[in-house]
């Protein structure tokens, strides 16, 4: 009689124990999977994309990532200072988008060249606008830079780094020629040393 009771109790207890272990294993598995997923997401986001350069290398014109930023320097109908301007607002015009910062020495050297490009198209019929985008910078330093180097074109200022990441920048300066449909036609990594680097591409659009 005693033996019968024990025989009945043992499998019941063992079944409960197995269920608990299964639940614990599933919970553990879910936690481990979640941690691995977070690590993978972190690594993927950290990676600097190369899709813009890859598309340009294949002769394509990738869509220029959208951005909205406040105006730091008003010019060429872009303003007033402090108002938000987005890339969409400039559709229909060719945009020479130059990422810069006041602490960047090559930016100092290319400023006169960008001024020259801006001046050239300002007087012509082609709807072309040179637009600076100041990033990773202090606004007071940026304004001093604009004064010191006589920047004549409009510039926006981004406090975060969304546009920097979306345009897959690896450093400053970088310049993009964006066609009137909002697609990237040219990317110059580093300093623009000759106006022709930009004007050749602009005139072909």
């Amino acid at each position: 009689m005693v033996a019968q009771t024990e025989e009945g109790a043992v499998p019941a207890r063992r079944g409960r124990w197995d269920r608990r272990r299964t639940i614990a294993a599933i919970a553990g598995g879910v936690v481990v999977a979640a941690v691995i997923a977070l690590l993978v997401i972190g690594l993927v986001n950290r990676d600097v994309g190369t899709s813009i350069q890859d598309a340009l290398d294949e002769g394509e014109r990738p869509d220029a990532p959208a951005f909205t930023a406040p105006v730091l320097l008003a010019a060429d109908g872009i303003g007033p200072v402090g108002s938000d301007v987005s890339l969409d607002d400039l559709k229909g015009r060719t945009v020479v988008l130059n990422f810069w910062a006041s602490w960047c020495e090559p930016c100092e050297r290319e400023a006169p060249i960008l001024n020259e490009v801006a001046r050239r198209y300002r007087s012509g019929d082609a709807p072309v606008v040179v637009l600076g985008l100041d990033v990773q910078d202090l606004s007071e330093k940026a304004l001093a830079f604009a004064r010191d180097f006589g920047i004549s074109y409009a510039s926006l200022r981004e406090a975060g780094d969304a546009a920097y990441r979306d345009y897959q920048l690896t450093g400053l300066p970088e310049t993009f020629v964006i066609d009137p449909d909002g697609r990237i036609a040219l990317k110059v990594v580093g300093e623009v040393t000759d106006p022709a680097q930009l004007t050749t591409a602009i005139d072909q659009l």
């Binding site: 024990e6 025989e7 602490w103 990773q136 202090l138 975060g160 780094d161």
Partner: protein, 147 residues
């Protein structure tokens, strides 16, 4: 009396450090990061970091407190400039998750310890089935041979 006051003043000077209360650039710099090098500002030496340190020094000279300077840097560079995530909104998760993970670990350890302590000693193995007629016959034969 004057002597006692002088001694008291000397003692106070010895106890209170000369720099107490004075905000330093590094005290603020370690709360933010350099946007171009992604390292804490107090150990960064890039041109952007130098500009930021100069900004902090100028604000300290103007009498700004630490939080006001940090808020100013956030306005210039965005929330991403903070060395640690803010303690509100989505960023709160970064603060809560490690604490919750430790709590979950403690609870799991407690549950396991409780379960193991309640485990009874393994019950006696079930009695073997009675021998079959053939097995009984062989057993009898073996025993007879031993005699």
């Amino acid at each position: 009396m004057r002597r006692a006051a002088a001694i008291l003043a000397l003692l106070l000077l010895a106890v209170v450090p000369a720099t107490a209360g004075a905000l330093t650039v590094n005290e603020v710099a370690r709360e933010v990061r350099c946007p171009t090098c992604n390292t804490p500002l107090d150990v960064s030496s890039s041109p952007a970091a130098s500009d930021m340190k100069q900004y902090i020094a100028q604000r300290i000279d103007r009498g700004w407190d630490k939080q006001r300077i940090i808020d100013g840097l956030v306005a210039e560079f965005g929330e991403g400039v903070l060395a640690t995530p803010s303690k509100s909104g989505f960023d709160l998760i970064a603060w809560l998750v490690p604490g919750l993970a430790v709590l979950a670990g403690i609870v799991a350890a407690g549950v396991l310890a409780w379960t193991w302590s309640r485990r009874r000693p393994a019950s006696t193995a079930p009695a073997p089935p009675p021998p079959t007629a053939e097995e009984a016959r062989r057993l009898d034969d073996e025993l007879r041979r031993l005699r």
